[in-house]
């Protein structure tokens, strides 16, 4: 892909192509002023089709970045300063998820009253979340980000 390198900022690689826009939403990239380039449907041996996001002049806290682990568990981050990769990070699916995902169960209390959702991560590979309230499992396929 012919996209110029960034001077300072963050490159998020190995995002599953189908979840690119979810990552953008979770990180709030649609609301920031930074220059952003992204490519999608790029070939990847690991993911089939991947996406990559380059954000100029933006650095993330670990807690922020781990929020994308739900939709891009294998994402890798390159932190760029002065055109050099100064740090590489991987995202980590946390043990507990608070307030990011929606419970899939339409009869769950979190879908009726303004309750902050809480989940225990019961599987990190194929992400599966057990609702703290209704105890039903929300899997990757029906994961909705709030």
């Amino acid at each position: 892909m012919s996209v110029s390198a960034i001077e300072n900022g963050t490159v998020i690689d190995h995002v599953p192509a189908k979840n690119l826009f979810k990552v953008i939403q979770i990180l709030g990239l649609d609301h920031i002023d930074s220059q952003i380039t992204f490519g999608t449907n790029l070939e990847s041996k690991k993911l089939g089709r991947k996406a990559i996001i380059k954000i100029s002049g933006k650095f993330f806290e670990d807690d922020d970045i781990n929020r994308i682990a739900l939709v891009a568990p294998e994402a890798k981050l390159n932190i760029i300063r002065d055109y050099e990769v100064v740090e590489k990070k991987v995202v980590e699916v946390p043990d507990n998820i608070t307030g990011i995902a929606k419970c899939v169960n339409p009869k769950c209390i979190t879908n009726f009253e303004p309750v902050t959702t809480r989940f225990r991560v019961v599987s990190k590979k194929n992400v599966a979340l057990k609702c703290h309230y209704c105890e039903k499992i929300t899997t990757q396929e029906n994961l909705q980000i709030i």
Binding site: K107, V115, Y133, C134
Partner: protein, 302 residues
Amino acid sequence: MKNRSLVSIDDFSTEEIITILNLAEEFEKQPVRNLLDGKVIATLFFEPSTRTRLSFESAINRLGGKIVGFADAASSSVSKGETLHDTIRMVSSYSDLIVIRHPIEGSARYASEIASVPVINAGDGANQHPTQTLLDLYSIRKTQGTLNNLNIFMVGDLKYGRTVHSLMMAMSRWNTTFNFIAPEELKMPDEFKLYLENLGLKYYEHSDFTDIISKADIIYMTRVQKERFSDPIEYEKVKNVYVLRDSMLRNTKPNMRILHPLPRVNEIHTDVDRNPKAYYFEQALNGVYTRQAILCSLLGIK
């Protein structure tokens, strides 16, 4: 257990469960006591449930406690649009303990986080009904003399029945062998079978309701509900297959007892009622003793 809530059976350790069962045994010997004198218990039934509500209210009355509450949501401020959050905040300042039944799943957990007093879940939709599980455990221990190494047959709707799921999870603490008898559409879900596999427990699945019950220590019957079937013809086919009749009990073990969370429709023929192996009405009575034990434990009275 003082000031704890009981939302899910997993909230209690094995020791705590045994403590409650032992206490229930004391209440069976002497059910009328004044232990809840001066206490106010709120019973909030957002959906009607005759058996569970009467059983709780009987337990509270026999202990000398007072009851505030409602028997269905239509007669509460919910009909004016009040949130569960606000109802619970208010009621927890009126009472020493809240018993809640609500059709929305997770509502009891949520209520326990809002309330300043202990909350007992008396059923939250298809999720949990831990006092039913405890009274089932009490009934099993009482009739078998132990909870260890039993062979439990579960019959009927094993897919949606929350009582069988909770009981299965609870009994898995005591090296139980399970036999599941259900029509194809209502088989025990994979997640529960996986749970048993991970624990190394044996289970067997059957679609026919036959002689195999001769091995049972407990037969736990459930209702096959018409509304669970997408195809009404399928329901018509199976509705009379999973019916227990007196003639089927001939070769069963002498210690075997039949449980059912009730209400039954036709899945236990009335000719079974006279058989000494029928235990479902005693089981319902055990619910009063078990709930007395739970109330007193959470209030720190016993």
